[in-house]
């Protein structure tokens, strides 16, 4: 991972990240201005002031939806008549296909997240925090636990932090390993030990979240920004961005590019510049399209390369900036297989709560599989179109997983219809040949044990 901008104040999130990616420990963190925000904020500035700065900063959530963080926080009842806990939860479940930005922050600079969380908790007057971390992120979880212990030793966590009267306990909780656990209300259910089914909103977690108490869930990257903003001011943060959005953003690319990776750049950096950082496409591969913000975002095509990577611009182009980590479709990969792979992933990761997603996604996957295997019929394109309308519209399903799953499919058909038609008309496809894809019902259910067997009848 390379770092392009060298002034630490212009790349606040990664300024401590070393080329060798060894984690920054407490000493190194503090040596580089670490916990300064903590010292200058707790007990010295009012939570209301901090909230105002976050609101003014125009920080938008980095977890995918881009919801303004200050606004989200302002729904938390501050003069709570019913005494009890308030919770701050860091969403470190990062399972969006193609996304690996939070991991970088977690593994390389755990203290940054902790400082961000303490300042956030102070602002919200939350007394308990959880870092809900993807189960595979073992190293990150280990580093966080150590960092938390160091903070306790220093009095940065626990009761009466730095004599401010503010108490904050922080726990690391490893996810059981399902994509849906990243959805904030499913995450909350999971934290409570329940099935990871999303909750209906309203009530929003800000009012009734974990254990029925006011709860804020934010992405790792979002929280890592907080103490920088509180320390350097809203204006500073606004100035970091290029377009209408504020701050920096971790952008990433995966696929057939020369240097897949992740970079902290001003938010609103043109897509073409990010591709340039990745060294362009690999020799012999052409860019056909890309998912700008992870597996659940709509395709964009080379004609979109000059767009700025910010929420509104990408939104207007018909996709979503999502997590800001792009997945590249090259000219040697068939869009049918590419999309099928994603739809199968989402079908597998459906929590099973609502019908369009639970039963509709496997149905879409089955149709895609038939098309890919050369068993498709012309009617299948209509079926897929129906499915996209059925599963893809927000509100048709209980949460955003299913509509997200339809985004690459819908846009894939829109932009790469020829791939689908090649399969339908020729029964096979030169691009798919070498990938040797196996049918869902042959591979997926093999070896399934236990009560719920997907044994085909």
């Amino acid at each position: 991972m390379s770092t392009q901008l060298n002034d630490p104040l212009t790349r606040p999130l990664t300024k401590n990240i070393r080329e060798d990616r060894r984690p920054t420990d407490m000493a190194a963190y503090e040596a580089n201005d670490g916990y300064q925000s903590l010292h200058s904020t707790l007990g010295k500035r009012s939570p209301a002031d901090c909230l105002q700065i976050i609101k003014d900063s125009n920080l938008r959530g980095r977890g995918g939806a881009g919801f303004p963080t200050g606004m989200k926080w302002s729904f938390v009842p501050m003069e709570d008549a019913t005494p009890g806990h308030k919770y701050l939860v860091c969403n470190a479940d990062e399972m969006e296909p193609g996304t690996f930005k939070d991991r970088w922050l977690l593994e390389c600079d755990p203290h940054q997240l902790i400082e961000g969380m303490i300042i956030s908790a102070y602002t919200l007057q939350a007394d308990i925090g959880y870092i809900f971390i993807r189960s595979e992120y073992l190293l990150a979880a280990q580093l966080l636990r150590e960092a938390i212990a160091d903070c306790h030793a220093k009095g940065y966590l626990g009761d009466n932090i730095l004599g401010s009267g503010f108490n904050f306990e922080l726990h690391v909780h490893a996810s059981a390993g399902r994509y849906i656990c990243g959805e904030e209300t499913a995450l909350i259910n999971s934290l409570e030990g329940k099935r990871a089914n999303p909750r209906a909103k309203p009530p929003f977690p800000q009012v009734s979240g974990l254990w029925g108490r006011p709860t804020i869930v934010n992405n790792v990257e979002t929280l890592c920004n907080i103490h920088h903003i509180v320390q350097h001011g809203a204006q500073w943060f606004q100035n970091l961005g290029i377009g209408s959005d504020a701050g920096t953003k971790l952008y990433g690319i995966s696929g057939r590019v020369n240097k897949p990776g992740c970079w902290e750049l001003p938010i609103g950096t043109p897509i073409r510049d990010i591709f340039a950082l990745a060294g362009g496409m690999e020799q012999g591969y052409e860019l056909r399209g890309f998912l700008p913000g992870g597996g659940s975002t709509d395709f964009l095509t080379p004609e979109h390369l000059d767009l700025a990577m910010d929420y509104d611009t990408i939104g207007k182009a018909g996709s979503r900036m999502g997590t800001g980590t792009m997945i590249v479709l090259d000219d040697k990969t068939c869009a049918v297989g590419f999309v099928k792979n994603l739809v199968e992933f989402f079908a597998q990761e459906s929590c099973g709560f609502c019908t369009p997603c639970r039963d509709g996604l496997p149905w879409s996957a089955q149709v895609l599989d038939d098309i890919q295997q050369g068993r498709g019929t012309s009617e299948d394109m209509n079926t897929l179109a129906r499915q996209i309308g059925f599963i893809g519209a927000i509100g048709n399903t209980h949460c955003a997983l299913a509509p997200g799953a339809m985004e690459p499919l819908a846009s894939g058909i829109q932009y790469f219809r020829e791939d689908f038609e090649r399969h339908l008309n020729n029964g096979h496809c030169p691009l798919c040949h070498e990938h040797n894809p196996k049918g869902k019902h042959d591979s997926q259910h093999k070896g399934q044990q236990g009560v719920s067997q997907g044994v085909a009848s």
Partner: protein, 929 residues
């Protein structure tokens, strides 16, 4: 009331309702699965989708609107919806198509077929052609015990089962497992479902996953079942039931909705125990014992003649009625024998407690709550009852009462009670306070704020202490009385529950004292207080009302030192009620014992003349539930063999005898009328249901659905000619499918069915609103209704309430106080004759705490002999039992010589062996057995 527009038509709807409720209430057919009228919405199935428009402009501009879920959308004034537009209809159709991807197409062999909500919704949405070409997922089924059959392939993943079983009924052993399209609903391991309310899964599951095992094994379609409104006779709660019959057999029992009593749910004793009517212990013919002691079948005329003979002239007659027989049969028996010679059929303890319950309720300043009222309670104190086993449906209601705290919290966030998941997530384990003082652990301990395990007299003492706290007469530091009192005092609708389980009058007195003190409290909730007193049998309270004055108990009859020429026993097994010595003594003084009963009980087996009585499923009658609700049950089918309703035997006898009181009694209704005239307290019983003159649009109410089939064929082995349908001269129901099952009074609803709605979900067509009364009114007539005047503080309360607490319990060396262990399966007489439950019955046991066990040098599974050969029972060590007390399984064979509250010696039985019994014991997990 908000006005909403649905497909261009304006409707006024109820504030706060969701759109699905509103649509169903308006008679519009909006399909649904996961929503349940008593469990609210979660938005899982997406079947109830409608299209909502932003506003009139949006609608006029031809916008396509957006899909919203009816069950998750609160109605607001001015909202505009389309239910029948293409977008919504297409969506709903695709939902069904998706649900059918993995659903087996096996309706013909599915036990749900013909009353399947999935079938109905499939037809309703118009789904027909299958587009999916993939293979279906299949699952393995589980053994879930003798009552419930499991067929997981039919699951449509609506989550109703787990929501019911875990969230609503407090079960722990059913779960949704795995994810995506593999979600599996079952137990972590095969085994008997632990909940005492598991049977409701059969009605909650909208498909054929959970079905009634005994029905599956001896199957009939719903459309082939003949049914009639009935009342459960297995405890005093009086749940309304819908038994279904075919080929002369009771095939199954479904819930019969009564908004004030059982609502949507029954307990498993009621649902499955009613199969006793198919028992091979049923009596079909009259029997007369000859000089050799053998029974000979005689014909009914002879039998009647024998009966009349025995009652003739100056014969010295005595009669024993029964709290499990109808008011009418008891009334005739009392008429036949004369007041002085009629015993209501209680033992002495039962009798005094039933009378006490009656008088406490009559004189209480508190309200006598219905089950629905109980569900509204926001603080509860239970004294001396393990309700899950003694009045099960009340326990299920209390699991809802404790959620009132959640609803209050939800209201602050403007969440409606039907927003089920949101309300539960908000409140988590915050509950309205429930306190239990009992002699053992109880099945409600898991939701109780405090449980106190005390000897009966100490329970009463705690009760009195609480009452004193409430009336401000005691020292506030007295714990736990103060905590309990404070919780009750600050509640808007506090509820006190006690009952006769412990055989201890002081407990009931204390409960009444608390309820009165609460009613008379001086704070803003003054006047609000509820008192619920449970009794053991379906007509216990009715019997107390029929003979309110000093009437002889079984012991009292036995003590009478004169010869009884004829003793008539009505539907009563004396050997269960009193120690064998007492019964033997009584019977020794009897020349002719005549027993009318439906089952071959030990008492019947000693009779000279046995008369086969119709069971609850073949006769009509009124019974009075513990809340004083008179309810009528109707015959589901004609009497088989030579069985007659008990009242019919007795009426025939009275007629033969030319008894003056019978002069104007010609049929069942006349008995009800005569009884209501004779006993002021029972005045209201005629209003329990319409009489036999009632006609619906000129015709009687059919017991058979329109599609009832095989009227000729089912008798073809006897005769190929279709017989004339049996006339029912006694009731407003007919043994036919002709007639109108709509708009009639709620007490006459024999089944629920409506065009397009073949399943029990059709109920909403009969309701005024979700959870509201039936359109024809709530069944039953409350005889003790003091709900109107409960604010009348002048009312002379405390009359019946003794004001002094008993002395504290003292364990005495070598003597143990007998306290009860109730069991939902076994403690009730009739249900224990049900084949269904046989596997779940366990032998009788005695529970003592470990200190007593080591004193007695016994361990779990040893035998203990009680008193002088009173009983010998299996030991169970249970440390919740106070030292010096011993809890025995009441109502279970082997314990009938024991009396609650008695002190007995205990001794290790040296050569004791556990009686042979079935392998599986359901309640092993829950209650100690």
């Amino acid at each position: 009331m908000p006005v909403i527009t649905i497909d261009n038509q304006e409707y006024s709807v109820k504030e706060g309702d969701n759109l699905l409720q509103a649509c169903l209430g308006l008679g519009l057919d909006l399909p649904y699965f996961c929503w349940h009228p008593d469990m609210g919405s979660i938005g899982a199935c997406r079947q109830c989708a409608v299209v909502q428009y932003q506003n009139t402009e949006d609608y006029r501009a031809g916008s396509r609107g957006r899909i919203v879920m009816g069950c998750m959308t609160q109605v607001t004034d001015g909202a505009i919806f389309s239910l029948n537009g293409d977008k919504a209809s297409e969506f709903r159709k695709t939902i069904v198509e998706s649900l059918m991807l993995n659903h087996p197409h096996d309706c013909p062999v599915c036990a749900e077929g013909g009353e399947c909500h999935l079938q109905d919704m499939t037809v309703m949405t118009g789904h027909r052609d299958r587009h999916y070409r993939g293979k279906k997922n299949t699952h393995r089924n589980q053994y879930l015990g003798p009552l419930i059959h499991h067929e997981m392939n039919r699951c449509i993943t609506c989550y109703r089962c787990t929501r019911y079983y875990n969230n609503y009924a407090g079960g722990k052993d059913l779960a949704a497992m795995a994810a995506h399209d593999h979600v599996y609903f079952g137990r972590h391991q095969e085994g008997v479902l632990e909940s005492e309310f598991a049977g409701n899964l059969v009605e909650v599951c909208p498909t054929g996953v959970f079905t009634d095992k005994s029905l599956v094994n001896d199957y009939s379609r719903k459309w082939d079942l003949q049914s009639a409104p009935s009342v459960c006779t297995h405890c005093a709660v009086g749940c309304n039931t819908l038994p279904g019959e075919r080929y002369g057999k009771l095939k199954r029992v479904h819930n019969r909705y009564n908004d004030e009593v059982n609502g949507y749910f029954l307990c498993d004793r009621g649902r499955f125990g009613a199969k006793f009517v198919n028992s091979d212990k049923r009596i079909n013919n009259p029997g007369l014992r000859d000089e050799h002691g053998r029974y000979n079948i005689i014909d009914p005329h002879q039998a009647l003649h024998q009966l009349v003979e025995a009652c003739q002239g100056d014969n010295n007659i005595a009669a024993i009625g029964s709290p499990r027989a109808s008011v009418e049969a008891n009334f005739l028996l009392k008429t036949l024998a004369g007041e002085q010679h009629y015993s209501p059929g209680f033992n002495a303890q039962e009798q005094s407690l039933a009378q006490l319950a009656l008088s406490l309720q009559q004189h209480s300043a508190a309200t006598i709550p219905s089950i629905k009222d109980i569900e509204c309670a926001d603080a509860i104190f239970i004294l001396g009852e393990d309700l899950t086993h003694s009045a099960p449906r009340i326990a299920l209601a209390l699991r809802q009462s404790v959620r009132n705290k959640a609803y209050a919290l939800a209201a602050e966030l403007k969440l409606q009670p039907w927003q089920d998941a949101a309300v539960r997530n908000l409140a988590q384990d915050q509950r309205s306070p429930l306190f239990v003082a009992a002699v053992t652990d109880t099945r409600l301990d898991d939701i109780a704020e405090q449980c106190h395990h005390l000897a009966p007299d100490d329970i009463a003492r705690l009760g009195y202490a609480v009452a004193e706290q409430i009336s401000g007469k005691a020292n506030a530091s007295d714990e736990p009385a103060n905590t309990i009192a404070q919780a009750l005092l600050s509640a808007q609708r506090p509820l006190i529950i006690a009952g006769s389980s412990c055989g201890n009058a002081a407990i009931m007195q204390a409960a009444a004292a608390i309820a009165d003190a609460l009613a008379l409290r001086k704070n803003e909730n003054a006047g609000n207080s509820m008192l619920c007193l449970t009794l053991p049998e379906a007509n216990s309270l009715g019997q107390a009302m029929l003979s309110p004055n000093e009437a002889p108990s079984i012991e009292a009859l036995a003590e009478r030192a004169y010869k009884i020429d004829t003793l008539i026993v009505l539907e009563n097994d004396l050997f269960r009620r009193a120690p064998a010595a007492v019964v033997d003594k009584l019977l020794q003084s009897v020349t002719t014992l005549i027993v009318l009963d439906s089952l071959e009980t030990p008492t019947l087996a000693t009779s000279q003349l046995a008369l086969p009585a119709a069971s609850v499923a073949e006769s009509e009658g009124t019974i009075v539930s513990l809340e004083g609700r008179a309810q009528r049950y109707f015959p589901v089918s004609e009497c088989q063999g030579e069985r007659r309703a008990s009242w019919a035997w007795l009426l025939a006898c009275l007629k033969e005898l030319g008894h003056p009181e019978a002069a104007n009694i010609h049929r069942f209704d006349d008995i009800t009328l005569a009884c209501s005239a004779a006993q002021p307290m029972l005045k209201g019983i005629t209003l329990a249901a319409p009489d036999h003159f009632y006609r619906n649009a000129g015709v009687k109410i059919p017991r058979q659905p329109q599609r009832y089939s095989g009227r000729t064929a089912m008798r073809a082995n006897v005769s190929v000619h279709e017989p004339k349908q049996t006339e029912d001269d006694e009731t407003a129901l007919a043994y036919t499918m002709e007639g109108l099952n709509r708009h009639q009074p709620g007490s006459l609803l024999p089944f629920v069915w409506s065009p397009g709605w073949n399943s029990n979900q059709s109920l909403h067509k009969f309701q005024t609103e979700t959870g509201g009364p039936l359109k024809g009114g709530t069944a039953g007539k409350r005889l003790l209704d003091n709900r109107q005047n409960n604010n009348n503080q002048q009312k002379n309360s405390q009359q019946a309430v003794a004001t002094t607490a008993p002395a504290a319990f003292q364990a005495s060396a070598g003597q143990w106080l007998l306290v009860p262990r109730q069991r939902i399966f076994g403690s009730d007489e009739l249900s224990s004759y049900s084949d269904n439950l046989a596997e779940l019955l366990s032998d009788a046991s005695i529970e003592i705490n470990s200190a007593d066990a080591s004193l007695l040098q016994v361990k779990n599974g040893d035998g203990l002999s009680l008193g002088e050969n009173l009983a010998c029972l299996r030991v169970v060590i249970n440390n919740t039992i106070p030292q010096g007390c011993a809890a025995y399984s009441v109502g279970i064979a082997g314990t009938f010589n024991l009396t609650l509250g008695q002190r007995v010696s205990l001794q290790k039985a040296s050569d004791w062996q556990r009686p042979k019994q079935a392998d599986v014991i359901a309640s092993d997990g829950g209650a100690h057995v």
